[in-house]
Every structure is written in C-alpha cells, then in structure tokens.
C-alpha cells in the first residue's frame, strides 16, 4: 500500500508541484490543506503517514500547526518546506517536533530524499 501524504501550502501552485513530485515518487497524496487549522483538521480526518508543511500561511502558521498535530499524535512525521532565510522559523518548527525540512526553491530529488529520510526514522 502506498504511503499517504498530506500536503500543506497556501499556494495552489506549490501544492500541485509538490503533489506531482510525490506521486511520481510513488506516494499517494491523500489530502491537501491551504492553512494551518485546515492542516490539523485534515490530519485528524485522514491520518496520513507524512505531512509536508509550509511555514508562512494565513489563519494558522505552519509552526502552530506542527505543535497542534504533535500534541495529538507525537509520532507524526512532518517535513517543513520553507523559503531560504527563514532559518529561525525552521529551527522552531523542528523544536516543536517537525522531523526535517526542505528549502524552497527545491529540486524534486531533494524533496523525495527528505521524505524518505523521515519515513526511515
């Protein structure tokens, strides 16, 4: 059975791109979310194996979403997807429980590597 992934990003374009990369890599994109609170809801609803999480989003930030998800599921596997220069936010997200990160703009191989690393933990 394919690994289920939840993609969280406020830009549709980014969700589409990430989705294509993951599907090509053999993963199943089970759900998408456009902000933090939606991400928490979708996580509870679909119980995915992995989440890719943008940081700066309306409504609820990616960091708060990580905190909420980890509170509900300490084993959650979350990969942050962040723009260059947001190091302190990424550090905060990792402290909050995210397992790894990918820097935007990304190479497809980078995304797949990070996802694989986190799944292997």
């Amino acid at each position: 059975m394919a690994v289920k992934v939840l993609i969280v990003d406020d830009a549709i374009f980014m969700r589409k791109m990430l989705g294509d990369i993951l599907i090509k890599g053999g993963y199943e994109v089970t759900a998408e979310a456009g902000n933090g609170s939606e991400a928490v809801e979708k996580y509870m609803e679909y119980n995915p194996d992995l989440v890719t999480m943008d940081i700066i989003m309306p409504d609820m930030s990616g960091i708060d979403a990580v905190k909420e998800i980890v509170k509900k599921d300490p084993e959650a596997r979350i990969v942050m997807v962040s723009a260059m220069g947001h190091q302190s936010l990424v550090v905060e997200a990792i402290q909050a429980g995210a397992k790894d990160y990918v820097v935007k703009p990304f190479q497809p191989s980078r995304v797949l590597e990070a996802v694989q690393r986190v799944l292997n933990l």
Binding site: Q87, V90, I94
Partner: protein
C-alpha cells in the same frame, strides 16, 4: 557532573579574583581612613563571602585564612577600635596568600580532571559548506540523536544554535558515541563526523562557548608562521608582477585579503588588557610609599586598552621602574610638600591611550620635578658638553642626558634631581619593542614620562626608502609626512642645513650621510625626496634618494653580533627576498644631534 564542578571552580576563581581586586582597593582606602565603618563592614562582608564560597568547594586553607581575618575584623568592629597598621598589613598578607591559593586551584583541578572518571567522548560534526540553513540542519541532527541518547553537552550552546549562531561545525558530548557517529553519518548535509579523544580535547575544550585555552607557545608559533606567509606572499607578488601576467592579479588580491584577515585575527587573539599590569600599581604604590613614609594616591586611566602580550611583557618592567621612580624620587615627603604649599597627598597618574596606530602610556607625578641644573652640571663634569654650549642648550637637550647609560646613579644625582635611575634601561626596553620614551618636567610641579609604542611588535608598517643605492625600512610610527621639494628650498642656519616648512624651521639630515654611505654628487637629484620624522615630540627632515612606499613587514631581531649596531632595530625581508634593515629613528636622531652639536 564533572563538568558542573569544573564550571563552579572556574566561577569561584573568577568571582574570588574579583573580590580580591575589590578588597585591594577597599583596604587601601581603609588604611587612609581606618575609622571608616562602612568600608570596614564591606571588607568584613567580602571575607565572609570568600569563606563561604571556599568552604562549599572544600578549599580548607582559603576558608581558614578568610575565617581568621573575618574574626580579627569582627573584634575590631565590636571593640570600636581603629584598625592598626599591623592589622592592615596582616589583612594584605592574608589577601596575598588567598590569591596564591586560588591561582593554584586551576592546576590541581586540571590534574584531577585527567585522573577522574572518563567523560563521554565529544563528537565533532562538520556540515557541508553550502548547506542552506546550518542551524536548522544542526537542530534536525540534535533532535534525531536525542531520540536515542541523552546529550550531555552541546557547543555552540542549544540557545545559540536556536538563534542561528552556528557556522558549519558543532560538537556534542554523549555516550555510545560510535553508534551515534554512524547514525549521524547517514544523515543529510554532513561533511565529516569525528570522535575526539580526551587527550586531544584537553587542548581545545568544548565547554564554554566564549573561548578556548591555547598554549602561548603555539600562539607565538602561529604568529611566526603568519609572518613567514606575509613575507613569501610579498615575494610571490613581486615575482608575478615582474612576469607581467594580469591573470594573476585577481587571485593575488584575494590571497592578499585572506592573509590580511589572518594576520589581523592572529594579532587580535594575542591581545591582553593593560589592566594585567596596571591593576598591580595601587598595591605597589601603597606598599612602597608606606615603606618610605610618604603619602600618595594613584589614578589609572585606559587600563582596558588591549595590547599584544609580548609587548606587555616588554614594557612591564620599565613601567614598574617608572612608578617606583615616581614614588621614591618624584613625590616629596609631607613636610616638604607642606612647605611648598602643595597638597599633602602626592598624586601619581598613569594614563594609557591609543594615538593613531600607537599606544601612548604616560606616568605623571606631581612631585618635585627634575633639577635640570644638577643634570647639566653632571653632564659637564662627565665631559658630555663644553662650557661654551651651556648657555645655548635647551631644556629638552638637558633631559636627554638622563637616557645615556650610566649617566646617573642613585647616590649621586637622584637625591638632587629627583629622578634619573635607570632611564637608559627604560629607553632600551622601549627601543626593543619599537617604541620611544620622552620626559617632561617642571621644578616643584612634577614629571611626566611618556612611552610611545606600536600596537604590535611582530608585524609593523614601514616606509621603504632608498639611500646611497641601498634599501632601508623606516617604522611608520615616526613618519609624519613625505613629499618632494626642490633643492633650492634648503637653507642654512648656524651652519646647519635646515628646511622651512609651514613656518617651522626643521633640521635636515641626509640618510646616506647618516648611514655613512658616500654618495655620488652627479647622481644627486634636484628634486629631493623628503620625509618629516617625528621622534619624541621633536621633528626633523630626512632626505632620501627614492620612495618605495609603505608596507607591512615582519620584524626579525638582528642576529648577534649585528644586534649591537645601534642604527638598526631589526631586519626584514622585502618583496624580492632581499633583507632590509629597519632603522632605529630615535637612536639616529639622538646621535646626529649630538654629533652636530659637538662639531
């Protein structure tokens, strides 16, 4: 656990050291006013604190001494008596003993540490250079390790990493290091993972993010190597320029910048504050003036200025020497001061400041000043000048005699002149660090000795000039300006060649004459390359054949027997690999002056 104790020990040493320094000031104040209950209470309180601290760490001897002093002081406090001189001396002795015990602590702890139970090893982790977010990568690694192992120590600290203060290297201490190392190696963005053995660690401890302890000999070696690098680079530049290949230019520039940075960092690492010596002065003044039965205070300014540690070593004896002169020969006895209507309390002021690339240290006393007549008389008796010259000699020139080796002895002149012991020694010490010394004095007002020296001894800025077909380096410290002038602007005044420059008349010397090189008159240029040299507040014009510009050079001491030649302070290697002598401008000016006066 061991790290904790070590941290406490360091904290104890640091804090106790601060207390001792504070005590030193307080007890000196207390001595001046033994009835001051507030100061007495504070001194008492500090000894009590030291006692408590030392007891906690089981330093029995420190505890015992501070307890004893505390008891004595308490008795004085309760009886309402005034602290006697004997008791104050005892307090000082106790402080000295504690200071020594504290300074020995570190050594014992280091030994204990080696003997103690082994600590977990340290894992050094180097990230890939082009890693985008090193802090985030480090955090991922730390979190991953934490899932399996307790991390005992991280450097930089967790907080620093959190706030992004990390380059591409960090260290962690944890057990099961081999397994952890293997795990880290499989992770993203790792360039190298290495387990550091304890003996290696001793040289570069990971604890304390502020810094590491480095062997001074290694620092000296490092500076030497940087020095060699500067020289060989300068040779390389010359070679490549001769070949005229423009492609090299960019690489050379980059290289030059890196070497410059390296040089600066090495220089910075070697800096220590003047306070290392200056802080000793109050106690020194107190002890010596007490012995002589004089009363005085000392003011210190600029103790936080940092200088190269070898420079500090070079000037510490002369400084102590000058302070002693001020106490012993400068400041008068109370009766004498009263008669002169001066404040009973003598005053010594030590001021350090940075002036351009140099450090200036002035030692001033408000004592009796130097009796110039006595100095002049002695110079005459020693045959240093002729009777006819006595009337025309300036005050400055008189004082200059004091720097002649063997000019004075304490028996003969110091009682009259107020100063003069060993000024030649001070001058020699300053010469060896590439500096100069000057003296100003006024009868019954006091004396000021100024010492000027470059920030660093090893690498200095020089101006390269040609004279008589040879190359010479002049320390920039003394070069005021350079310009070309037509020969017709030279004039003669009392049979001496002079130049009038912006309303001042400056004596003129030709470098080739000074160095005893016979120059060919046909070759002589009608346009003169002139340099204004300022030495010890005295200016003169030096004429050379050619300017080659300024550059940083590494000073090497002259090998024996050349080191006895007074015209040179050292030697350096310039671009083309040729050795070049560095001129001792204060010495040259001094000698020229008296040769001319004599003729």
């Amino acid at each position: 656990m061991h790290d904790d104790i070590k941290r406490y020990v360091n904290l104890f040493k640091e804090e106790a050291g601060e207390y001792l320094e504070r005590l030193s000031t307080l007890v000196i104040e207390l001595e001046k006013d033994p009835g001051d209950k507030d100061i007495l209470t504070e001194v008492f309180r500090i000894f009590h604190t030291i006692k408590g601290m030392s007891a906690t760490l089981n330093y029995r001897e420190i505890e015992r001494i501070s307890h004893e002093i505390e008891e004595t002081l308490e008795k004085v406090k309760e009886s309402g008596e005034v602290l006697s001189k004997e008791l104050i001396d005892r307090v000082f002795k106790g402080m000295d003993a504690i200071e020594e015990l504290i300074s020995n602590i570190g050594k014992d702890v280091e030994k204990d540490r080696v003997k103690s139970a082994p600590k977990s090893p340290v894992i050094k982790i180097i990230l890939e250079e082009d890693i985008g977010m090193p802090a985030a990568r480090a955090m991922v690694i730390i979190k991953a390790i934490e899932r399996e192992q307790v991390i005992e120590e991280i450097n930089p600290s967790y907080e620093d990493i959190k706030s992004g203060k990390i380059e591409d290297i960090f260290w962690i201490r944890c057990s099961n290091s081999e397994i952890i190392k293997k795990k880290i190696e499989t992770m993203e963005g790792i360039k190298e993972v290495k387990i550091i053995k304890e003996e290696e660690e001793g040289r570069a401890s990971i604890s304390g993010t502020g810094g590491i302890r480095v062997n001074v000999a290694l620092l000296d070696l490092l500076q030497n190597i940087v020095g060699e690098l500067v020289i060989s680079f300068s040779q390389l530049t010359t070679l490549l320029k001769e070949d005229g290949d423009r492609k090299h230019k960019k690489v050379l520039e980059l290289h030059n910048r890196s070497i410059g940075d390296l040089q600066e960092i090495v220089a910075r690492v070697r800096l220590v504050p003047l306070s290392l010596i200056f802080n000793k002065f109050p106690r020194y003044v107190r002890d010596l003036s007490g012995k002589l039965g004089k009363e005085m205070s000392i003011d210190i300014h600029g103790a936080d200025i940092k200088v190269d540690r070898s420079l500090l070593e070079g000037i510490s004896d002369p400084l102590i020497h000058l302070i002693r002169n001020a106490i012993d020969h400068g400041i008068e006895f109370q009766e004498e001061r009263k008669m002169l209507d001066k404040s009973i309390l003598g005053k010594i002021t030590v001021t350090a400041k940075r002036v351009k690339g140099d450090i200036l240290i002035e030692i001033n006393d408000d004592g009796r000043g130097i009796d110039e007549k006595a100095v002049l008389h002695r110079a005459y008796m020693k045959g240093l000048l002729e009777e006819g010259e006595i009337d025309s000699i300036t005050k400055k020139e008189i004082l200059r005699f004091l720097f002649i080796p063997g000019f004075t002895t304490s028996e003969e002149v110091s009682r009259v002149s107020g100063r003069g012991i060993g000024l030649d020694v001070v001058k020699e010490a300053l010469r060896s660090v590439g500096g100069s010394v000057d003296i100003l004095t006024e009868k019954n007002k006091g004396t000021t000795v100024s010492m000027k020296m470059p920030l660093s001894m090893a690498i200095i800025k020089v101006y390269l000039v040609g004279a008589g077909g040879r190359l010479f380096a002049l320390p920039m410290t003394f070069v005021d300006e350079t310009f070309t002038f037509s020969e017709s602007s030279l004039s003669f005044l009392m049979l001496r060649e002079v130049m009038i420059l912006r309303n001042s008349v400056l004596p003129v010397y030709h470098l080739s004459d000074v160095m005893g090189i016979i120059h060919n008159d046909e070759k002589r240029n009608t346009n003169l390359s002139c340099m204004v040299i300022e030495v010890e507040n005295d200016r003169f014009v030096l004429i050379v054949d050619k300017f080659y510009g300024s550059r940083d050079v590494v000073v090497k001491p002259l090998p024996a027997p050349l080191n006895t030649i007074e015209e040179y302070t050292g030697i350096t290697i310039v671009g083309d690999g040729e050795p070049c002598l560095i001129l001792d401008l204060p010495g040259i000016r001094y000698r020229r002056k008296y040769e001319n006066t004599g003729s």
